[in-house]
């Protein structure tokens, strides 16, 4: 009896220690988030006054001013539709290209895969100027096209293609043979067998792509100049006074609003997100 009681106590103590340790480790990650949300409810003066997590006076107005200061709703919508479009296109292109590279025998397949992989080594910043000239030549500057085309066919798209290729390589070939025996064309095998079986990889690609597109800053900064066409990362940096100094209370309120879709994605797909990082071998 006493032995089992002692064991239970040890187990409880162990768990308590772990919980405290994890809470301590979580502080640097959680505190800035809480600070951001609480500061969104403070006045500009209070942010620089005595530091406190709870606002002295709740400034709900900040969240209205955010929309009055610039076309924030429009910018929010821009980010949302661009992220959804990029994600959809990337899923389509990367799964088709990945399938072709993994499963179809054609001349130069290995070389193409090698080229794609080597493109991943090139930093995005290096290609931004040639990309800008290309987009200007195509008449796409100050439109949303560069923000859709570059991530879809650029490094993020290639990474997605690589992920899909690796996944398709591991799919049993006999399943495709069974599909062919059942009367499917190559495209039919991709659509009705390979894709439904690749849900984990597709989820990983979708999550990574959506987050990348949502957080994209450099490309909007270079390619978009009209306020109406801004995306959220650019819009957030635009909450400034006439002298260019940040309006922190508005910026933090807007940032709190901007993380809502990301939070929703995280809440819905926590498990897939962890799997996706494990699958892609990239950090979050």
């Amino acid at each position: 009896m006493s032995v089992s009681l002692t064991r239970r106590r040890i187990r409880l103590l162990n768990r308590a220690c772990w919980t405290i340790a994890l809470c301590v480790v979580a502080i640097p990650f959680v505190f800035p988030f809480l600070w951001m949300v609480s500061s969104g409810f403070k006045s500009a003066a209070e942010i620089f006054g005595s530091p406190s997590l709870v606002p002295r006076e709740w400034q709900w107005r900040n969240f209205i001013d955010v929309f009055n200061y610039q076309p924030f709703a429009r910018q929010y919508f821009n980010s949302l539709y661009i992220a959804v479009t990029v994600t959809t296109l990337t899923l389509l292109v990367s799964s088709l290209a990945g399938y072709a590279l993994a499963r179809m025998r054609f001349a130069g397949a290995a070389l193409i895969a090698l080229f794609l992989m080597s493109a991943l080594m090139v930093p995005e910043e290096v290609t931004i100027i040639p990309n800008f000239f290309m987009m200007r030549w195509a008449g796409l500057v100050d439109t949303h096209w560069p923000l859709i085309l570059l991530p879809t066919f650029g490094p993020q798209g290639i990474m997605a293609t690589f992920l899909m290729r690796q996944y398709f390589l591991a799919l049993p070939k006999e399943l495709e043979d069974a599909g062919k025996m059942d009367g499917l064309s190559r495209l039919g095998v991709w659509w009705r067998i390979a894709l439904p079986m690749s849900r984990p990889a597709l989820a990983a690609v979708a999550i990574i792509t959506f987050l990348n597109s949502w957080n994209l800053f450099l490309e909007p900064l270079i390619f978009v100049s009209s306020l109406q066409k801004f995306t959220l990362p650019l819009a957030l940096s635009n909450f400034t006074d006439p002298y260019g100094m940040p309006l922190w209370h508005l910026q933090l309120a807007a940032t709190s609003l901007a993380v809502v879709p990301i939070l929703i994605v995280y809440l819905i797909a926590q498990r897939q997100i962890i799997e996706s990082f494990a699958l892609s071998g990239v950090k979050g």
């Binding site: 069974a178 025996m181 059942d182 009367g183």
Partner: protein
């Protein structure tokens, strides 16, 4: 009537010729088994018949139609794969009906065929389960069911039982035999398991290095192997082979052209040392329950296998071996049967 014929069928992978000219005809309703050692091309040949592999040259006819260029789904064949190849994202019903759905068979007709096949294979209680929820034997039955619903003219089986445990294998073997009897369809079956080949086949095709070594009934192949390779490949334990010269004196009236003589382990009987056809020393006695397998070393160093069901024999015992003359197999210097 769905007969099948292969005329000088060849297959190259790059410069490597894996099927080197196969001629074969399969009659309607026949159960034909392809056997041969690993890499002999038996699975490739089956895949060529199914349409999953292109035919480099030669003519393949199914039911009188040349189908060299016909896509797999239009050849009237269905295939059961070694790994079952069930779609993991579909339940049993959808797995079985998938091909029919692709071919746009009406829903009612599809349901009727699925239910018929499920009844035949006792799969009715499993129709709503997913493949991961099934045992190996059940998965195998679903794979067969998927083949049946398409009502194919020819069934192709690629080592379908090799992933099952020994007991289930025996059970599925008999189920396959009865299924063949019930459906009366033409079936082509690839295996490296001799027992499967011998028990299921109307006709066995022995392949080696992309060529047909012999075609015949199981009894033909066992009792009258056409060459040394078939003689040693068919039968377990395998046939003992000796150079004819070493036993020529004891075998007056044997074919003059003989170069080798073969004796099946189960045809040999023990006798006193010095008498009989050959004598030797017991190296090892393997007790298998119903009988023992003796490894007997002959004076020339050859090791003979002898199936024996008497009292146990200790190693190093000297004994003689004899055999009925009509159970001897003679082969010429090219390895071909001489009688």
């Amino acid at each position: 009537m769905t007969s099948l014929s292969l005329s000088n069928i060849k297959k190259n992978f790059g410069k490597v010729e894996v099927i080197r000219g196969v001629d074969l005809s399969v009659d309607d309703g026949e159960f034909v088994v392809f056997v041969g050692p690993s890499g002999c091309g038996k699975s490739t040949l089956l895949r060529m018949i199914s349409g999953l592999e292109d035919i480099s040259s030669g003519v393949l006819r199914i039911g009188g139609r040349t189908v060299n260029e016909t896509p797999p789904a239009r050849r009237g064949v269905a295939m059961v794969f070694q790994s079952y190849a069930l779609y993991p994202h579909l339940n049993v019903r959808d797995n079985m009906g998938f091909g029919l759905k692709v071919r746009k068979v009406p829903t009612e007709e599809r349901a009727r065929r699925i239910n018929d096949a499920a009844r035949t294979l006792k799969l009715e209680p499993l129709l709503d389960r997913y493949p991961r929820e099934l045992s190996g034997g059940q998965r195998q039955r679903v794979a067969i069911g998927r083949a049946i619903v398409g009502d194919p003219e020819v069934f192709l089986f690629d080592e379908p039982l090799s992933n099952l445990d020994a007991e289930l294998r025996v059970h599925m073997r008999s189920e396959l035999a009865s299924l063949h009897k019930r459906l009366g369809s033409t079936m082509i079956y690839v295996t490296h398991d001799q027992i499967e080949a011998m028990t299921l086949a109307d006709k066995i095709v022995v392949l080696r290095d992309g060529l047909v070594e012999q075609v015949g009934t199981p009894r033909d192949l066992y009792e009258r192997p056409g060459n040394l390779f078939v003689a040693q490949f068919i039968g377990s334990p395998k046939m003992n082979i000796l150079p004819f010269g070493s036993v020529a004196k004891a075998l007056p009236g044997s074919p003059g052209r003989a170069s080798h003589v073969g004796m099946r382990p189960e045809d040999l009987t023990l006798t006193d040392p010095g008498s009989g056809l050959v004598s030797g020393r017991v190296l090892l006695s393997e007790y298998t329950g119903a009988s023992s397998l003796l490894h007997v070393e002959l004076p020339g160093g050859e090791v003979f296998l002898v199936a024996y069901d008497g009292p146990s024999i200790e190693p190093d015992t000297l004994l003689g071996l004899t055999i009925a003359p009509d159970r001897l197999h003679f082969f010429d210097s090219d390895g071909r049967r001489t009688q």
